[in-house]
Symmetry: C2
Subunit: 328 residues, 2 copies
Amino acid sequence: MDNMQCPKRTLMDYCPDIKVMDCTLRDGGLVNNFAFTDEFAKDLYKANIKAGVDYMEFGYKASKELFDPKDYGKWKFCCEEDIRAIVGENDSPLRISVMADVGRCDYQNDILLAQDSVIDMVRVATYIHQIPAAIKMIEDCKQKGYEVTVNIMAVSKVNTDDLYAGLELLARSSVDAIYLVDSFGSFYPEQITKLAQKYVEVANASGKIVGMHAHNNQQLAFANTIEACRMGISLLDATVSGMGRGAGNCYLESLLSFLKNPKYDEVPIIRFVEKHILKLKEEGVVWGYDIPYLLTGILNSHPSSAIKFIKDRRKDYCNFMQELLDVE
Amino acid sequence: MDNMQCPKRTLMDYCPDIKVMDCTLRDGGLVNNFAFTDEFAKDLYKANIKAGVDYMEFGYKASKELFDPKDYGKWKFCCEEDIRAIVGENDSPLRISVMADVGRCDYQNDILLAQDSVIDMVRVATYIHQIPAAIKMIEDCKQKGYEVTVNIMAVSKVNTDDLYAGLELLARSSVDAIYLVDSFGSFYPEQITKLAQKYVEVANASGKIVGMHAHNNQQLAFANTIEACRMGISLLDATVSGMGRGAGNCYLESLLSFLKNPKYDEVPIIRFVEKHILKLKEEGVVWGYDIPYLLTGILNSHPSSAIKFIKDRRKDYCNFMQELLDVE
């Protein structure tokens, strides 16, 4: 991983250290239970290569002890053979990532040695209280030869002292990158400025980089991502048309058109939207900004209640807001 | 108008100088040709009062010589009696605004003396080359007793020298507020930072304030509005559910939930969405972020071609992008 840093960038900069991660299959898989066709996955893989995207995340490495494969599409598990069916030996500059949740992944058995796998990067997703367990996973994956990131989830619910302590622990681990994650889409850009400063400061001091994963509850996913980028965060997550849980993510097509590196090109992604995303939407797969997600974003709550509200076809937003306030 | 300034604010500030303008009938009227029911207008008026909104724009003061009233809903013209049918004497703190386009408004005849009108504010919309004509309108409206703002449109197409010269001319006029307008939704927050600084500097030096009117082509309308606010811009435009031409505007419900002044409450607006906006959407009235608007935003073009593309039910985004590049 290229550790070159631009701590404070401007719009016109072309920063070669910036890398883009497409998480459509992974975060988008949370929308449709990973029910993507192989054609979808293959076309997305090809589109990402053409678009100059740096990483493509295929899904989760979930434990088959905890989750029954009959209940999910294959990208919940990301078996080696399933990824290879899409990418072959991956003879391309696009690097392949999977996510592994602390406590939901049988990483000792399911994550192979990197030399035996087409996977390049493992992203360890952790809550703040799981960081010691996350570090065990990080060290295991590093020893196996992977690039490893850690994604601290739900930090908008974490008090600052705990967060800083967690960051310091991670800084002493072998992890390559630490992710700032706005799980609930509740941060404003001004809060991202401060958090990004802290993450970059701690990470850079130990030779690590920082990533950004945003949610679009307040229609700020793209704005927060470019603010993070301005503050020196260099690994930027996005999904095609923002496909992701609830309000979804930063739109990959917007991000690529924003970045100045000429290797990035949004056109292959827009072609992919024409062919695949419009069809998904016609089939009734629903994600993206809506008032229930705005409300969970404002109230800094998990989007699950908003997802249920929309699934139940409810429209009584004000009642829903009161329900959220009762829970808080 | 309260001229108290907070030149650089933080998120936690409660700045009493910030004012919110609801433009739903006006910018939203460009979506449905101003075909709002009286019930819609009345309920919006009441919702705005309950929500603590400071100004409500009813529509345009368009010339009936240039535009045939048979072809438009009444808010294209905003006759005194039509506004009074909704607000009576407007016995409320909500102030009422109309927009008057340079060259499209017979302002000498159609704009009454303020003492004879329920309208409080006239917003003069001008292109950069029309500023001398705009100043004539501004002085006419000021003499008649109105609060007057000037909205310089399409500044993303204006060179910096011309823009600064225009701002200086307006600073010497009697106008109360100068608006930064992102007509094409093409600005990133970092550009808003710089523009806002300049507008605030020039305006404050002559005792004026600055307004912000954003479009959502890149899903940055809200982010750009709060960035403008952070830089000292104090008159913030928004519309219910972002209803406005093309990709629409900053969402009023998001903006109210962001602002710290306890007089603001997004709940009445969300109730209004439940009752009226969902119905409009069911009836097929279409606005809001979509790829064609992203493309005109990226390419800094007027949204009219994207509006036509969507009306024609085309989905060939990449062809459309090439058409836009041919025109540029």
